[in-house]
Assembly symmetry: C2
Homo-oligomer: 188 residues x 2
DNA sequence: GTCTATATCTGGATAGAC
DNA sequence: GTCTATCCAGATATAGAC
């Protein structure tokens, strides 16, 4: 279980904290979540918690990174349905989308920790999905004239935009709109 | 100049304040803008300013409403190029996009003043653009099988998503991606 | 590594005079 | 309508003991 070697225990504890934070934010939402709140949820004092992450913002970014671990692999699937499924699953945890939206807004400031994270996420996510699109094209599942990079960027930005809106108006069917765009793209 | 009748002067003053706030946020960005900051910019004390809007959040929402006055008409143009031009123009004032993004995040809370504003904006914006699409279809500029409502929602969400991302990574060409989607939609 | 306690700070809201 | 002055709440960050 516990990793061997130096820092093993510290890293493990960090993971535990992130998982607890993930749960707490998912349950109570982003707005209701202060550092003190999180500390209590993980069974630590505020000082103890901040020992691991330095600042609140760093902590929140780490939470987002953790969530991405699962989401990002879906972008390399040989079918956008996998990513659409992720979006659909995310709709079960509005608290995390809320967190994401707030961090995205804060990331406009280049000095904010979320800034580097978001840029990296865009780069990585678009690259992965773009590669998947090229694979599909080779497999004959995508018209030859489609620009994979542009389509990937668009699809990614659209899913972000839909999520922000869905948070405010949950009657929006995100998955349906993504599927529509996809079908339109492949000319079906 | 001054409106006649009761409340005329108050409404006028309100407009002046909003215009000054619009300029200030455009210049200094959202993050650097506190109520005290805005008050100074319009030549009022903090108390004097809050007399007109009650709270900071209400003030910010009023600023967004004011900006929308200009933007929304473009959605009724007989060509999405008009709206794309608005997006392109907005890229000149990142401070206002920053404001929008933060308000969009805050609007997830139903009690926040931005919540009602955003819902209304989505409704109105999508309805307007959807109507434009139907007009285009009648004019033969849009394939018959396109669902106007869904396309409008998609286009709107995409432009929001692109703006959020652009704020973090200004190398993104928002207009180019919107044009690409549009061309793909009409099958060109 | 973790806790307690505290330093500070920022900023928004409010009361009441003019 | 507008100003001055004050209040207050809420958080984070830090210092230093254990």
């Amino acid at each position: 279980m516990a990793k061997r070697g130096p820092y093993g225990k510290g890293i493990e504890r960090r993971e535990q904290i992130l998982e607890a934070a993930l749960r707490t934010i998912a349950e109570r939402g982003f707005l209701a979540t202060s550092v003190a709140e999180l500390a209590e949820a993980v069974g630590l004092s505020q000082g103890g918690l901040l020992h691991y992450f330095g600042t609140k913002e760093e902590l929140f970014v780490a939470v987002l990174r953790k969530r991405d671990e699962a989401d990002m692999v879906a972008l390399r699937a040989p079918d956008p349905a996998a990513y659409i499924a992720v979006i659909r699953r995310n709709a079960q945890v509005p608290g995390l989308i809320e967190l994401f939206t707030h961090m995205q807004a804060a990331a406009a400031d280049p000095r904010h920790p979320a800034h580097a994270y978001m840029k990296e996420r865009y780069r990585r996510g678009t690259a992965a999905f773009s590669q998947s699109l090229r694979d599909m094209r080779e497999a004959g599942a995508l018209p030859a004239h489609i620009d994979a990079d542009a389509a990937a960027t668009t699809f990614f930005a659209l899913s972000d935009g839909l999520q922000s809106r869905w948070l405010i108006d949950p009657s929006l069917d995100m998955a349906a709109h993504l599927e529509l765009v996809w079908r339109n793209l492949i000319g079906a």
